[in-house]
Amino acid sequence: MKILVTVKRVIDYNVKARVNADNTDVDLANTKMALNPFCEIAVEEAIRLKESGTATEVVVVSIGPKACQEQIRTSLALGADRGIHIETDSMPESLNVAKLLAKVVNAEQPGLIIMGKQAIDSDNNQTGQMLAALLDIPQGTFASKVELIGDKVHVTREVDGGLQTVALNIPAIVTTDLRLNEPRYASLPNIMKAKRKPLVVQTPADLGIELKTHSKLLKVEAPAERQAGIKVNSIEELIEKLKNEAKVI
């Protein structure tokens, strides 16, 4: 079985995002970029499935400007077999990403598509679900366990109340949650090998997709700073504030 893994280039999770001076976006110029942590978990899961003999090939795809190839190379260094880069000028909206990926899936015919549940930049948590809908295939989102049992994939999902397990027909989409696995570090020999693994570059036009605009980013602001605190005089007042003002209990 072939596994397709999607990876996104995002701000390094150790770096705190800062809003730019004219409040049009987050300032990413010369910011350290990295593989989205959830995507890293997706790559790890795919590699483990390959190592256990369940999967035969791991193909990794990324969409965005040329620099995304760094994250594809990182994924190849972790153990993926080959890469596909769909080159765009900027990061397309989720629905466009899903449409591009749908074309890749149709061409590659993977048995399983593993994606991060969300990217730590846009925090949308939607591309995997959208891709599943476009392909009319089932999804196991927020996965903490993935098992192939017979001709189905069983996905244990982290839901609000606890865990839910679903059985999905194949092909299926799995989106990863943090506890699914602990990603490995790329080894030096694999980093060296990754340089020679195949990586093809395509454009949305090659895939016959025209990118559409569904929403407009009007402004980006820093969240409100922590207000100077107040003193309360009693437990009653404290509880009242926590319930009605802070809304944390």
Binding site: N14, N30, Y185, A186, S187, L188, P189, K195
Partner: protein, 593 residues
């Protein structure tokens, strides 16, 4: 406990702009290797350093290594961290492909060792010593010896140690007493060694001790010492580790001021039948073999000075930003980074570290340039430069590390004196660096003696000429006028010192030794000024063309200015002291002390 974040911006800048690594790779014909690839590899190594190795720095210091039944137990977590280091292949970085290495440039080794050293100085010593042992076997061992030992050492499966010092033979290795008696296809080694770093541990299935010893027919003195490979566990015919312990073990651990997690062992060889050993190269040449590794080993220790300084700086900076200890007129509070004197200390740390990194990396790349030189003349030229840089990198970087880790603790105020704050550990750990692998005094003697007087100051003159090229470049740019003047003056001062040494060393036998440390420090400051000036030129060029990160490049201009304002002026003191000669140093009779 403090976190370690790889200072990738400065590292990338030094590799790309100061070392000019890409043009080196092109000239050397290294396909696929460039500064971008360096950055990829460093990013991955930094993850392991920050996430796995750095968190063990404090706990390792608290717990230390311990000895029980002749076995050294390393601090908790070290075995697992080493395992990851090994499995990820980092031990094979610069080693030859023939034995399973990745054969990457020496500069990669330096930049990556900086990560391990900043993460955890005590931990980093184990791989560092292994690299030394690999290098000795690679350069001087027979084919059989190389095939037997190198692959498993390069893969990290076995670690290596260097057994030189004995109770009566430290700096003076001529006094070595350990014996080696021929016995069939091997030798039987017996004797005591002390100060053996990572001399024993339980992290790997086997260990390879490199031991200096005398053959029965050896001439006395330095020309009668041979080098042997002595495994911890004997190998079977196929070269696999057996369960049979060799007659070599650790008898005691030293209680040290710092690097507590690095076991410093007293080793006993041949308490019973004699430890099985195999000779490296030819008899009686052991000490000269040691010298071939010296440049590398000494530069590595210089790099440790950079590593621990960076860690100390990161911790002090974080504290200075968070420690609220000032009050505005309106009653609002502010953190101590606003105080000018705290700024001074942080700037001194920051600009020193940047100069140190530039010098360490430039020096490291000279080894690559020598290796990949197109002709013998270039090879010699770059090798001579390696030789010249080595005592400066070792001596100057480790001396600055004392000052930087001192400042790191000072910035913390009273908290700095408290062990659990963690700043004191860097201060303690740094203290060994000016001592081992040749003290500062030895480095300085090497610089004035073998590296300067020996060739009548030719190498030093060439270095100063190279620095002058940068000074000329500065003169072309009006905004760098003051830097140009300062650098020109520094070059003149350097030439005066060189001339003084050449003029006085013949007539006054104490002259060289009396001025040596000031001489060495002075050339450290001058090299630092040179490379910081280069950095400023490059930063300005990038700013002018609109490339790169403005905030970083602008800060480079400021750290350069600070370096010229606060560190370079120290050479005026150095020259004054040098020119005072040996009189006041040597005049007292010993009884008068």
């Amino acid at each position: 406990m403090s976190e370690y974040n790889h200072p990738y911006k400065d590292v990338d800048f030094v590799i790309k702009e100061i070392v000019e690594f890409d043009s080196f790779c092109q000239n050397a014909g290294l396909a696929d290797i460039n500064s971008e690839f360096a950055s990829v590899i460093l990013t991955e190594a930094a993850k392991l350093g920050s996430d796995v190795i750095a968190p063990l720095n404090t706990s390792g210091d608290n717990q230390g290594a311990s000895l029980k039944d002749n076995k050294v137990q390393q601090a908790d977590g070290f075995k697992e961290a080493y395992q990851q280091y090994m499995e990820n292949g980092w031990s094979s970085l610069t080693a030859e492909e023939e034995y399973g290495g990745q054969n990457l440039p020496n500069l990669f080794g330096t930049a990556i060792n900086e990560i391990w050293q900043s993460s955890n100085l005590a931990f980093s010593l184990c791989p560092m010593l292994t690299q030394g042992a690999i290098s000795a076997i690679k350069h001087h061992g027979s084919e059989e010896l190389k095939n037997t030992w190198l692959p498993n050492m390069i893969s990290g499966l076995w670690t290596g140690t260097m057994n030189l010092t004995e109770p009566d033979a430290g700096t003076d290795l001529a006094a070595i007493k350990t014996k080696a008696i021929p016995n069939a296809d091997h030798y039987l080694i017996s004797g005591q060694k002390i100060f053996i770093t990572w001399g024993d541990h339980q992290m790997t299935e086997n260990m390879v001790h490199l031991v200096l010893a005398r053959l029965p027919d050896a001439p006395s003195g330095v020309k009668g010492i041979s080098l042997f490979v002595v495994p911890k566990f004997l190998l079977d015919k196929e070269g696999n580790t057996t369960s049979q312990l060799n007659d070599a073990h650790c008898t005691a651990l030293e209680h040290k001021l710092g690097i507590h997690a690095s076991p410093t062992c007293s080793m006993s060889f041949g308490d019973n039948q004699g430890a099985v050993g195999y000779i490296v190269g030819e008899p009686h040449k052991g000490l000269s073999y040691m010298f071939t590794m010296m440049n590398h080993a000494r530069q590595d220790v210089g790099l440790q000075g950079l590593g621990v300084s960076e860690r100390s700086y990161q911790q002090a900076l974080e504290f200075a930003k968070e420690r609220i200890q000032g009050t505005h007129k309106d009653g609002s509070r502010f953190s101590i980074i606003k105080f000018p004197d705290v700024r001074r200390m942080l700037m001194q740390m920051k600009s020193s570290i940047e100069a140190m990194r530039a010098l360490a990396y430039v020096a490291s790349n000279e080894t690559d340039k020598s290796r990949y030189a197109k002709n013998a003349q270039d090879k010699t030229k770059h090798f001579s430069r390696v030789e010249l840089y080595t005592p400066i990198v070792k001596g100057w970087l480790t001396e600055l590390a004392q000052e930087i880790t001192y400042l790191g603790t000072q910035i913390h105020g009273g908290m700095g004196f408290i062990e659990e704050t963690g700043s004191a550990q860097h201060y303690r750990d740094a203290r060994i660096l000016t001592i081992y692998e040749g003290t500062t005094g030895i480095q300085a003697l090497d610089l004035v003696g073998r590296k300067t007087l020996f060739d009548k100051g030719e190498q030093l003159a060439e270095l100063l000429n190279d620095i002058e090229m940068t000074a000329k470049e500065l003169q072309q740019k009006p905004q760098f006028n003051n830097l140009a003047v300062s650098l020109e003056n520094a070059i003149t001062t350097g030439r005066e010192a060189r001339q003084w040494l050449l003029d006085n060393a013949q007539t006054d036998k104490s002259a060289a030794g009396s001025v040596s440390v000031n001489f060495m420090m002075m050339f450290g400051y001058i090299c630092g000024a040179w490379l910081m000036a280069k950095a400023a030129l490059k930063a300005q060029a990038l700013l002018d063309s609109g490339e790169g990160e403005r905030a970083f490049l602008q800060s480079k201009l400021v750290t350069t200015q600070f370096y010229f304002d606060h560190l370079l002026p120290r050479i005026k003191t150095n020259i004054a002291i040098i020119q005072s000669g040996s009189d006041s140093i040597m005049s007292l009779a010993e009884d008068q002390f």
